[in-house]
Amino acid sequence: MSNPPTANGLECAGLVKTYGGVTVLKEVDFRVRPGTVVGLIGENGAGKSTLSSLITGVVRPDGGSMTLDGELYAPHSPSDALRQGVVLIHQEIRLLPELSVAENIFLGRLPHSRGRVDRGRMHREAAEVLSSLGVDLDPRRPVRGLSMAVQQEIEIAKALSRHPRYVIFDEPSASLGESETEHVLDRIRALRASGAGVVYISHRLDEVREVSDEIVCLRDGARVAEWADGSVPTEDLVNAMVGREFTYQHVAPEPSSDRVVLEVRGLSRKGAFAEVDFQVKAGEVLGIAGLVGAGRTEVARVIAGVDRPDKGEVLVDGRRLPCSSPRSAIRAGVVMVPEDRKGQGLNLDRSAAENLTLPWERELATAGVITPKAVRGIGTQQRERFDIRGDMGLPVKSMSGGNQQKVLIGKWLIKDPKVLIVDEPTRGVDVGAKMAIYEIIRSLSEQGIAVVVISSELEEVLGLAHRVLVMCQGRQSGILDRHEATPQRVMALAVPAGTDATEPATADATSAPNHVHVTGR
């Protein structure tokens, strides 16, 4: 941490990165000086993570160059970058649960003497790093069983134990509550005070504004805007991120009929959520908002038959669902587009067309036989309907995120469902595909399908839904009509009343739900 006074920081000039013919980073210039925090913002797929991967040696650039304190810097691996004092704190926590806290911190460079691990020294040094972070934790205990927030602290301790000169935080707050996030921000400020250069990547614009000395915005792989300090209005940041042509407003016309299609009564699942009640009419879009871990996805999974409820019932067209398997829900006309496209939605090695037909092969078969021609036909049909770009006969992993998402949505719309649940429908897709997906959701509700939209992006929920159900710590904290659903009111319902978000989102059946405003319809 002895930067020469002439140090001009970490500087990237004209960085280019291409993946499979698609340029994801277009001649980006970027600079971070010692003792400053640069906020890096942009939509999913804008190139933020690619840029941080280039800087930390995870991948190598196809063009451009980097200098570190005036010297040429071309890391060929993350460990090479580490040696030169550049470290990435990843958004996913990657600790080995069976190893001790200290072993995780010193993984790959355990202190040793005479051919044996020097446990005394390791534990002492780990304790020093942890206490310097203000974490009270026994370095000897295994990581298993520690909360996400503590694990994130260990990740940070691991990075800082190497005394880096440049630290890149890639969405460290994605899975954290508010008070823990504040902790991370304190860490960043301390790093800055000690003379390190920090790049802070986050979707939470308020945090970025709070902590950054300088904000840089990427869009579609290019640097589109920068601000010299954090005092810019959030709207400016959003506009720069999404470009001007973008709008979240895709609300379908008010449903014409009052026919209730989906009704959920007193639905509870232990450890996930409790006492959820709502109705969705034909042609209505219900948004579900809430912080990560509030139980939104868990509710959707129970309705779609993936998990079983402990209490309550789900009715579709007045008939009670067995809630026993995805298959039973699909038969009743309830389909869900899951949030995890790769883990739950698509079989990436199979062709797009085969992914589309997977749930429907029994219906599509004639005399028990389904022909490749029939599968191709469905593929062509859905490609035209949803404007999917790419070869439907190739493995679906060859497509871009946006087109994969369209395939996933198309998979559930081969037969018109009664209820469509979409969980994070635009995660990891570009702006163009995002707009297309909003249009699809809008047109489906116009057709009279009851739609439930879950999203962590508040604007997305507000832009699509007729009504917004807000969840907080496994509880339904209110349902707002569209005209009363301002971001402030939704957030007021979404943030736990005690303002302390360290409590895990458990559904404690005895605690009183903080109903603020419920429009019972």
């Binding site: 013919g21 079989n347 199979r350 997977l358 078969a365 036989v369 389904i370 190739l394 493995p395």
Partner: protein, 354 residues
């Protein structure tokens, strides 16, 4: 359009190179990239586009036809197939199990147990022989059912579950007759492996029929096609409304039954039921499937390639016997073949996607 194709192709290459090589299960030669004019070029590209296993088979057969004058005779070639009919039929089941991301170590012991059961019921209990064979098949299905239930409802890893049933079935097979073989079957039973139907041995017809039926199931029947989804990503399959548990159990039952079918062929060929029959076949069976390009992590396997894998093993063993290679060295060659097959298969997949 062509630039678009190129782009996706390149993306594809990237993915195959970094991920486990398991893209196209059919392994059909992709000829879409043919743009050159020279016939040599075309031939070269067609050759490079062939799936790895077929390429290996052609190389081995060409080499052996030069090395031995007896190799390329009709009789020898028929023998290769009929001698390996039992392993081939078991390999169908093993390929299906591997396709869904499982493994079945119990096939060989299942063969022995079902064969000994039917022989014991025929000789010591005096039941009609046809009934005994049917019961033997049911025993095979029952072992498969146990495998399936243990690895789904029991949540035991298939390797461990089938290791246990392998041990148990092998023990039971010995226990039935205290380790003694049973001889003396009805003569019609022996004709199974000595009858030719229009010049083709009956067990070859049974073998090819099994492969065709399995291939049809995997390509055209919803439940067969679903196996690719189950092996590729069970959670995706479950969320798509497939009954993953039932499909998995079904596959283990099929594998057990096919082991029993292989047992009837072995019994007929030897005119004897040996309690240790089939126990040495396990590694051959898995070798056939692996040489056929299936990935042990599931989601990819094809009947055509498994059949080619069977032919490679059969041809190699046969060729080595013709060339008087020491029987002790033959497993070494099979070991080398497995590695070569897997490496060339990976290479050909990469070439196909460029």
């Amino acid at each position: 359009m062509s630039t678009l194709n190129k782009a996706t192709d390149r993306g594809n290459k990237k993915a195959t190179a970094s991920d486990r090589a398991s893209t196209s299960a059919s392994g059909g030669g992709s000829l879409s990239g043919l743009r050159s004019s020279g016939p040599v070029d075309v031939a070269l590209k067609v050759f490079r586009g062939l799936p790895g296993p077929l390429l290996g088979l052609i190389v081995v057969m060409v080499a052996l036809s030069f090395l031995s004058p007896f190799f390329l005779t009709q009789r020898n070639l028929t023998n290769i197939v009929s001698q390996n009919a039992d392993i081939g039929i078991m390999a169908v089941g093993a390929a299906l199990v591997i396709l869904i991301g499982g493994i079945d170590l119990s096939v060989g012991s299942t063969l022995a147990l079902s064969l000994m059961t039917s022989a014991f019921l025929y000789r010591d209990q005096g039941l009609p022989f046809t009934l005994c064979v049917v019961i033997g098949l049911l025993v095979g299905a029952a072992v498969g059912l146990v495998n399936g239930v243990l690895s789904t409802y029991g949540r035991i890893q298939p390797f461990v579950a089938t290791l246990a049933t392998m041990s148990a079935a092998a023990g039971l097979a010995l226990y039935i007759t205290n380790g003694n073989p049973i001889n003396g079957f009805p003569s019609w039973y022996l004709t199974i492996t000595s009858t030719d139907i229009i010049g083709v041995p009956f067990e070859v017809i049974l073998l090819v029929g099994t492969y065709l039926a399995a291939a049809f199931w995997l390509k055209y029947r919803p439940s067969g096609r679903a196996l690719y989804a189950v092996g590729g990503n069970p959670e995706v399959a479950r969320l798509s409304g497939l009954n993953v548990t039932r499909l998995k159990i079904g596959v283990y039952v099929v594998a057990g039954t096919l082991a029993a079918v292989a047992g009837t062929i072995v019994g007929s060929r030897l005119d004897s039921a040996q309690p240790t029959a089939g126990t040495a076949d396990l590694l051959n069976v898995i070798a056939v499937v692996v040489i056929g390009g299936a990935s042990l992590s599931g989601g990819s396997a094809s009947m055509l390639n498994t059949f080619i894998g069977l032919l490679i093993i059969g041809v190699l063993n046969n060729g080595m016997s013709l060339l008087n290679v020491s029987p002790n060295l033959q497993p070494v060659v099979i070991g080398v073949a497995i590695i070569v097959a897997v490496l060339t298969d990976r290479g050909s997949r990469r070439r196909q996607s460029t």
